[in-house]
């Protein structure tokens, strides 16, 4: 269950997701507003429902877009960046940090707002922002 993952890894309470519809399909989790579940969707050729919440390969990786929405409920494995680190992140660089976290995916914050996912390992954050979304700053 993906809600269990968010609770264990980030301390996001499960009830945050209770007003949403979560779908699992081909190792991907999607999240949609609850109303979408009740809508009459017969006869439609559907490509995507809602927003991509996470992918599951060897481990689960939340998406950048999803943590920008739900990251504010995280209580652990969150790391606050300073301005330079934030800019480096947006440019696609890896970042050295002093803050501690458990190895694995962390939620990165800038000015208290969740901005992206990073892969933390021993004081270093590996940049996992999709190439197409990186900025030239």
């Amino acid at each position: 269950m993906i809600e269990e993952y968010f609770r264990k890894r980030f301390g996001i309470p499960k009830n945050i997701f209770s007003r949403y519809w979560i779908l699992e399909k081909k190792k991907r989790y999607w999240i949609a507003s609850e109303d979408v579940k009740r809508a009459d969707l017969r006869g439609l050729r559907i490509e995507v429902i809602g927003m991509l919440l996470a992918r599951k390969n060897r481990e689960i990786k939340p998406t950048t877009d999803a943590v920008q929405v739900f990251g504010r409920f995280a209580k652990k494995n969150r790391i606050e960046l300073d301005e330079k680190q934030f800019h480096d992140l947006l440019r696609g660089l890896d970042i050295q940090v002093k803050a501690k976290a458990e190895d694995g995916y962390v939620i990165l914050f800038f000015k208290q707002a969740p901005v992206a996912v990073g892969l933390y390992r021993q004081g270093r954050i590996k940049n996992v922002i999709p190439k197409a979304r990186r900025l030239k700053l």
Binding site: R38, L41, I46, V48, I49, G50, M51, Q68, F110, A132
Partner: protein, 327 residues
Amino acid sequence: MKGKPETRVQKLAENPGRGVMKPVIPRIFRERYGKLLSDKRKFYLYCQKPLRKSIRINLLKSDLGLVERLEEKGWKLRQVPWCRNGFWVEKREELLGNTPEHFLGLYYVQEAVSMLPPLLLKPKPGELVLDVAAAPGSKTSQLAEIMKNRGCIVANDPSVARLKALRANLQRLGVMNTVITRMDGKEFGRLKNRFDRVLLDAPCSAEGVIRKEWNALADWSVQKIQRLSRLQKKLILAAADSLKPGGVLVYSTCTFAPEENEEVIDFLLKKRDFKVEKPRVPGLKSRPGLTEWQGKDFESQVKRCIRIWPQDNDTEGFFIARLRKND
């Protein structure tokens, strides 16, 4: 579909090495619209003026306080009178698509007049809404914003490549009340009386975007307009049939051609039981729909549609009809 190589434009289009430094306006284009306008010189002048950029602050992820934060960075923003979260960017230090705020989905780069169709559709939070030609998603995300991410929007586009952009944009803006479909818009007619509201921002000859894309008229021809008009008539009937009785359909294009605008609305009124509602938009200068074009008379209701010429609000050109399906 290619017309005859009858204008300078095609020659330029065939020589991409030589950049188009000014929009080229074909003679037939001038002849067609010159007749409609008492201010045609102003019209041609505005067609050649680069378009000012605008953004819509995404209220799903931000608040209007963003205006102040951007101005602290040296931007200069000016309110779009008809959209409370729309702003023209008069001065900026960065490319609009290359900022942290854009990365965070706090705003969307959207033409000021293209903010109108969702505002005029006026969806309510719990409704089921169809956006027939949704990509790349500016209007879909604005619909989601108006609906506060509740209810459900079926966001359709027939093209795989365009769907990719649609999906990325909706995700970036934090939209979660959408179902993305890949269907031919004409197929929605099978879903009889299904949707509370339908937006048909139709594929069109895009004459109105000339200020943004100076070669917008490079493959312009009357034949192309006629072909698009036939497609738009099929799309509007399908959209109309998929709408619940009493529901609202907004039809819009970014083109001036009456064949793609008033003629399409006139066709709908003759085939289905609809009425045209006149939109009231504070701060917007618009002109009524035409009731006659090249010898063809349209139903008088058609004048309640609105035409937005570039010279009236210093924007792109646009056409919008707000239609209600009779019970």
